[in-house]
């Protein structure tokens, strides 16, 4: 019960709804909570972080981001359709370069 009261008070602090509590006096014969002040201090921060952190975020070690690079010095059209439209105007053939991965990523 004491622990639950502490938890509720700590959440109240995080919500800025109640003033900081005074440490409770353990009941006679009751067990004194150790690290009470540390718990009260840390829980609001953890709570705020938990609310603000995107649930889909994974550690950097798990999610690989392929660095973006310039795809060379060729003036690439964005789509095959765009290239064909340009070719009709210019009279040039279309060069379609197909690959695994992406030309604008470092590892391709």
């Amino acid at each position: 019960m004491v622990a639950m009261a502490i938890l509720l008070l700590a959440r109240g602090i995080a919500a800025d709804k109640v003033p900081p509590p005074k440490p409770p006096v353990p009941p006679p014969g009751g067990i004194a909570m150790k690290d009470f002040s540390k718990f009260v201090i840390e829980l609001p921060a953890k709570d705020i972080l938990a609310k603000q952190t995107n649930a889909a975020t994974v550690s950097s070690a798990e999610k690989f981001v392929n660095p973006r690079v310039e795809p060379g010095k060729v003036r690439w059209h964005k789509t095959f359709t765009d290239a064909c439209a340009a070719a009709k105007k210019s009279g040039k053939p279309v060069l379609l370069f197909q690959m695994m991965g992406k030309l604008d990523e470092r590892f391709c």
């Binding site: 690989f64 064909c84 070719a87 040039k92 053939p93 379609l96 370069f97 690959m99 695994m100 391709c108």
Partner: protein, 229 residues
């Protein structure tokens, strides 16, 4: 790297309307050594360069990776049939293209025949870059790694394997391309991309493991457990 070379980029910009497409994500291998060092490589990537009419039909295609000068030379050779086709009446283009490819097949057949028992060598990228990584992944690295000096990244033209790849591209693989296009005639790129990747470049785009399943899982004791996850 190829398209960072000014000579290649200038030639393509002047002669073509270029566009690039990804046919599927490339497999990436990352080995985290646990001390901050992470090795990153790709596996089984390959390329296909198609020359198309402004209407979007494939005239010809270059399979695989080429040395820089050979790539430019091959593209230059493809300019002529592509431009010639545009001067032909639309209803005759189909037969013109098929005749072109049959003539190319005959020309290649007149070149030196391959020796008996010839085995298509690994692609440059596979042999030089990917194979060492693949051996580690396969966890069967009992064969001694051939101790050669790595090719200079700044001068891929010096890569012996790349030169060999180019030669194979311009002979065996090009013959396969010509045979396919002689049969299909004028065709949209999407109709031939998968057959070329599968039969010419030996990378089946519809296989989630790109042909590596046997090598990766045949002797892996935890394959069933992994599959369950």
């Amino acid at each position: 790297m190829l398209f960072s070379q000014k000579r290649v980029a200038d030639f393509i910009n002047q002669s073509f309307e270029p566009v690039w497409e990804s046919v599927r994500p490339v497999p990436i291998v990352r080995i985290d050594f646990g001390d901050g060092k992470v090795l990153t490589r790709t596996l089984h990537g390959n390329i296909l360069t198609s020359i198309c009419t402004p209407e979007g039909f494939v005239v010809d295609a270059l399979p695989g990776i080429y040395a820089e000068s050979a790539y430019v030379a091959a593209l230059q050779r493809l300019l002529a049939p592509a431009r010639d086709l545009q001067r032909v009446a639309a209803k005759q283009r189909e037969s013109v293209v098929r005749t072109y490819h049959r003539n190319e097949i005959a020309a290649l057949a007149r070149q030196a025949r391959l020796p008996a028992g010839f085995r298509l060598p690994d692609f440059t990228k596979t042999a030089v870059i990917e194979k060492p990584v693949f051996q580690v992944v396969q966890a069967n690295n009992t064969a001694a790694v051939h101790n050669t000096v790595p090719p200079e990244v700044e001068n891929p033209a010096e890569w012996q394997e790349l030169q060999e790849d180019t030669r194979i591209n311009e002979t065996t693989r090009r013959r396969q391309i010509h045979e396919l296009l002689a049969k299909t005639g004028l065709v949209r790129p999407e109709k031939i991309t998968r057959p070329i990747y599968k039969d010419v470049l030996h990378a089946d785009l519809d296989d989630p493991y790109l042909g590596l399943r046997e090598a990766l899982f045949a002797r892996y004791p935890f394959a069933k457990e992994d599959a369950a996850h």
